[in-house]
Symmetry: C2
Subunit: 137 residues, 2 copies
């Protein structure tokens, strides 16, 4: 298989310190967090505004990459499912997708509401939500 190199462009700063305490889905609740970007990518943050809905892509660096089947939501009472029909962090390329709202901007620090990623999680990308494509909340 071909492979490619991704770089952390920033890091999550969150009160969530513990993988087990991290909510598994947005509807289980998660704290607000800061996205702290590297100075090198500051120019890419132009035109972001408070109130924007964005998708944060993270690198789930504690995930297992050799797992193809999981119990949904980690519940052993539920039948094993293929990882691509779940949002398990454990998957060949453990990239997290998080839809969040920007609540404050301070230079290379971007405040977002309800992010289900632990403190120190590397950030790979930030994209706007497109209405029609990703849809309304």
């Amino acid at each position: 298989m071909a492979s490619f190199d991704v770089h952390a462009i920033g890091v999550v700063e969150s009160p969530l310190r513990d993988l087990d305490a991290a909510p598994r889905q947005v509807d289980e609740g998660a704290p607000a967090a800061w996205l702290v970007f590297e100075p090198e990518v500051l120019a890419g943050l132009q035109n972001l505004h408070v109130g924007d809905e964005v998708i944060v892509l993270t690198w789930l660096d504690r995930a297992r990459r050799d797992v193809l089947s999981v119990h949904p939501r980690g519940d052993p009472a539920r039948q094993l499912e293929g990882v691509f029909s779940t949002r398990s962090p454990h998957r060949p390329n453990p990239i997290g997708l998080h839809r969040v709202e920007i609540t404050a901007l301070d230079g290379r620090r971007v405040r977002v509401g309800s992010l289900e990623a632990i403190d120190g999680t590397p950030i790979l990308d930030l994209k706007p939500v497109l209405s029609g494509e990703i849809g309304e909340r």
Copy 2:
């Protein structure tokens, strides 16, 4: 910056052969395509069904990674914007996000409607759409 290695878990098979012909947004129209997965990840495809809405993550291997500002939709008449407020393929980590519907399943081949990625684009991941998080179309 920390860096990580991602692997292609499959490839897009599409009649779209040309970057310039590729639509820039879903609403500009795109053909149906096959996602052809590597035999090694077949077990991960269990529990996918026709009609599922999924998010395909791709590696946009022809993108420029040294670009932080772009003209939206490649239109030079529009003012430069930071890449993180656009969906430009040109960005530090050129990961594409594509929301699609599964229209057929055939072993390790998954047919999807309207995918704006050219033939041969590497696939990194496939995730279900979560209602509430990514939202309804």
